[in-house]
């Protein structure tokens, strides 16, 4: 059975999600809400005057905020209402991560861990930007045993671009979908 799942996953390599555009524009308010619990005093994020005189010419979003630009809302005025993002993904988009998750959950691999994330920042996101991103499945492991259990590592690259079509970030993401192993 394990071998079948593996070959089905391998057949999905190269699959890309339809581009998703963030419902929110980047704004100074969203930036402030991100830095608030982190208490990050970097003036590029919150101080207009400092940022205006910097090489960026204005406030920029913290690079570590990148993934927030692709999270779906939990409610929308069009009647859309969902509990959390994974359900949105599965309902609306035939993206590779959702399909992999669904396939593995059906096979009993119900738990998930994010193993490793690499962001390459190419251009700052600034207030007024509207970010779109798309994700592609690039690698699949054989079934692997870890301390958490037994399951599959799948690797994705997500590309983020702004409303001018300029790529702002590339993100590599490894997901481990597993089931606890009986001792």
């Amino acid at each position: 059975m394990g071998a079948d799942i593996y070959s089905e996953l391998v057949a999905m390599i190269g699959m890309e999600s339809p581009p998703q555009t963030c419902v929110d524009e980047c704004s100074k308010d969203m930036i402030r809400h991100f830095v608030e619990p982190i208490k990050d005093e970097n003036p590029l994020y919150t101080n207009d005057e400092f940022a205006k005189n910097s090489k960026y010419g204005g406030i920029i979003a913290p690079p570590a905020m990148m993934y927030t630009w692709c999270l779906a809302p939990i409610w929308g005025p069009d009647g859309q209402e969902v509990k959390w993002r994974e359900e949105v993904r599965r309902k609306d988009n035939p993206d590779p991560l959702s399909l992999v998750i669904t396939k593995l959950e059906e096979a009993g691999y119900t738990l998930a861990l994010s193993a490793d994330i690499t962001y390459e920042f190419i251009k700052p996101v600034v207030p007024g930007d509207r970010i779109t991103s798309s994700e592609k499945l690039i690698a699949v492991s054989q079934e692997k045993k870890t301390r958490a259990g037994v399951g599959y590592f799948t690797t994705y690259v997500r590309t983020y671009w702004n409303q001018k079509g300029e790529v702002v970030c590339k993100q590599n993401y490894v997901n481990y979908k597993f089931k606890p192993q009986e001792a």
Binding site: P37, I38, D116, I117
Partner: protein, 151 residues
């Protein structure tokens, strides 16, 4: 630490040496901070705000989310470099979950310095630890201003 302190700390690439340690960043995590982090990153997965759900998943309490951890790690680095330190790359590996009540201590160290094209780069290795072990670790690549190419 204040905005003026961060600006005053701004570092030139020439002033950085390999092996240099960054001033640590210590946090006492609370439920409020973890939930504010989840909201600030628009991450509504219940693990980050719903204790009952977290416990049903085998955790003792809600869990600090990935993006907020990344934000703390980035703060460790730019508190040290100053705002001129431009984050080019971030590698993030999350291991042990961080919960309310945990003391989370971030440390960093410069592991290499190099010039690539016009850019003066440093690589910083970092880790955030709770009592149970490493919560999150990885590397940053930063571009710093250089005395030789200041304009």
């Amino acid at each position: 630490m204040s905005q003026t302190d961060i600006v005053a700390r701004s570092r030139y690439w020439e002033d950085v040496s390999e092996g240099e340690e960054l001033p640590p960043l210590e946090l006492d995590l609370t439920t409020t901070m973890i939930i504010a982090g989840a909201i600030g990153t628009r991450d509504f997965y219940p693990l980050h705000h719903d204790r009952d759900f977290a416990q049903s998943q085998g955790f003792k309490d809600i869990v600090l989310n990935l993006m907020t951890s990344g934000g703390y790690a980035a703060r460790l680095v730019t508190d040290w470099s100053g705002p001129e330190g431009e984050i080019k790359k971030l590698v993030q590996r999350v291991a042990i979950p961080a919960h309310p009540g945990d003391k989370l201590i971030w440390n960093g160290k410069v592991i290499s310095k190099r010039i690539e094209g016009n850019e003066h780069l440093v690589d910083v290795e970092y880790a955030g630890r709770v009592a149970a072990g490493v919560h999150c670790s990885g590397t940053f690549t930063l571009a710093l201003p250089s005395r030789s190419s200041s304009h």
